[in-house]
Amino acid sequence: MSELNQNPPHAYEVQTGDFSREFVEKISKAQDEPRWMRERRLEAYGVYECLPIPKTPNEDTWKRTTDIHVQDYWRRTDLRMLKLQAYQPIALSPSDLADRPPLSDSLKAQMQVPEESGRIVLQDGVVVDVTLSQDLARKGVYFADLNTALQERPDLVESYFMTKAVTVDWNKFDALHGAFWQGGYLLHIPRGVVVEIPLRAFVVLSEPQRADLAHGLIIAEADSQVTLLEEHLSTDANAPGLHCGVVEIFVGDNAHINYVQLQNWNHRVWNFSTQRAIVGRDAQFRWVAGELGSRVSKLHQVSVLEGAGSNVEMLGLTFTHARQHIDTHTYQEHKDHHTTSDLLYRTVLKDRSHTVWNGMIHVHHEGQYTDAYQKNDNLLLSERARADTNPGLEILANEVRCTHGATAGPIDKDQVFYLMSRGLSYNQAERLIVDGFFEPVMQRIPLESVREQLQQSINRKLAI
């Protein structure tokens, strides 16, 4: 596709580069990073170079191979149109901060947060705003872009950054991320601190051909509570882009954490994201994924129930249109006894879009008395849309309760007739049915503001 190869306009000075070893060095040098980070980047680059871009294999090869890059994981997502070298990572020194294109007023309004809260805004990999209430700062909450955190909290970053949750050795895009990451944030909640009002993170793509490699690192110590709502969005409806992200979440013993990610990129962004949460003893982790945007998306979400008595709820809401392709893998890994997880992903598809959901509940030998559930439901609004759904169980303990289910079907004509017989137009009936279909997910989302945000995104989709 020609638009992927055009030269982007440079309205301002930024050090853009390519996915080369030299540029890895440059990024690290520009930030004056500690040596260990530079080494980690280069090591990740080595892995990146070794791994091929995953191919969508034909039925024969994927059965025979044991290589993850041509195996099940990539089976249903075609990357042939992806030209990685068309996208530019950036290196930046603090002096570049003033040179961002201004955000629109409507976007600024959307990003408003209450005074008692905090937010971080990243644009094309550069932090453009960080606020945190004095009260939270006094309590020891740390919320900053990751480049700054590397200077201010080096020990935390060194200990947690791509060492315990997501590692670079598995997936080419994770390796790419490890080598070229830029921006992102560290959120650290000290032991026992309760953050009442949700914190917000905005990851924005503006410039065409830009590669965003924001890294989210959330460390919530024991007995803490926090909600982070992260949104990904494009300011330019047509700018091609690449997001290659990693999110690592550490939920301490008895902590209560909600993490919401709304992916709202424009229809020309390739989205690759690996997210992993490690959940401690008696902790509760609630995870909401709203997948609405992007051209092609590959999202991998893993919940590791590491401590006994931990509880995870995973909620997903996907709405695709045109020729969008959204492929989601979820993994509920029960590593200790009396752990519970509950997953509900609902997808609505329009036009010729295609979604994939692959779910796995994995219970280790130690996971006695696990109670795990997964359910994926798909509503197809068009005959040409396609939903692949594939729940899975792998159970090594003997005293567990694990259930799963999946459904896919077209819109119910009797429902449409019923609503139309009451005066609603076909479109109104369809909208109401879609809203109703998402309702079981919506009503489990803990925050009014998040529900509203999601509802707005759904309404925009319905109006297309």
């Binding site: 429902q415 139309m420 017989s421 005066g423 137009s425 279909f437 079981p440």
Partner: protein, 277 residues
């Protein structure tokens, strides 16, 4: 001006099979008609086709509503003219609250020239809530109905009362009640009957479709018609309903030479469910 629903020589098939075979009927605002017939006589087919269900193809004939040919209209356009169908088997719409749905529906039928487009303005929440509460009180419907999902997990009686509530809110000119008494115990029939009675007046024409006369003890029709094998074979007053109550359909079948065996193979309570299989 009183509005009329006029059906002339209507013929309807389901798939290849003719079900309604030349039916004539006129229902005026303010009149109460009962259309009675055994299972399989084509009652539900008629009701659904009048509302515009896409499964039924009208082969020939004419249906006008206030002079407008409705056979060319979408179901929502028929509703906006003032036609209403209380379903025998109301469809559940999970996740959609009764209040939310009713507000959209009421807004759609009351807005002039909205042609059902996306721009239909919703009636103000406050006014709507007040009206809904009043109607629920009038019909003795519990307030929790408003928050529940439309017909989901409703008992048979609740479903029928929800239909009557919708009728009350949408204020149609002509309402077709398709087997509104079926599946209900005698108390539930009484409750639904009494609710309906409250709505009856000079502005509402009613076509009660039923095969039991028991709902009719609460709502006394002025006109009774007997549907057999896709045609109205007898029309009269209350005495016809009494005759059926005493002797059943057999004497009428005999009179017109229609054996129950012939009816048996389309003796399907819900013809749609058969089609869906």
């Amino acid at each position: 001006m009183s509005t009329e629903l006029v059906i002339k020589d209507l013929r309807i098939s389901v798939g290849e099979k003719p079900i309604i075979k030349g039916l004539n009927l006129t229902v005026k605002q303010g009149e109460i008609h009962a259309l009675m017939g055994p299972n399989g006589s084509g009652k539900s087919t008629l009701a659904n086709a009048l509302m515009g269900h896409p499964f039924y193809s009208v082969d020939s004939g004419e249906v006008t509503f206030g002079g407008v040919d409705v056979l060319e209209l979408e179901p929502n356009e028929r509703a906006r003219l003032g036609l209403f169908l209380a379903f025998q088997y109301p469809t559940a719409i999970p996740g959609v609250s009764m209040a939310n749905f009713l507000r959209m529906a009421v807004s759609a039928v009351r807005t002039e020239n909205s042609n059902g487009s996306e721009t239909t303005e919703l009636i103000p929440m406050r006014a709507f809530r007040r009206e809904l509460r009043e109607k629920m009180k009038q019909l003795g419907v519990d307030e929790s109905f408003a928050r529940r999902y439309l017909n989901e997990g409703f008992s048979g009686g609740e479903k029928k009362r929800a239909e009557v509530l919708q009728l009350a809110m949408l204020e149609p000119k002509i309402a077709i009640l398709d087997e509104t008494d079926s599946g209900l115990d005698i108390d539930a029939v009484r409750i639904v009957g009494e609710s309906l009675n409250q709505l009856i007046g000079p502005d509402l024409g009613v076509l009660i479709i039923t095969h039991y006369p028991r709902l009719l003890t609460y709502i006394r029709p002025q006109f009774v018609h007997i549907l057999l094998d896709g045609r109205i074979v007898e029309s009269g007053g209350w005495e016809l309903a009494e005759l059926l109550e005493k002797k059943g359909y057999d004497p009428i079948r005999e009179k017109y030479g229609i054996s129950p065996e012939v009816l048996a193979d389309d003796d399907v309570e819900d013809p749609l469910s058969a089609l869906r299989r």
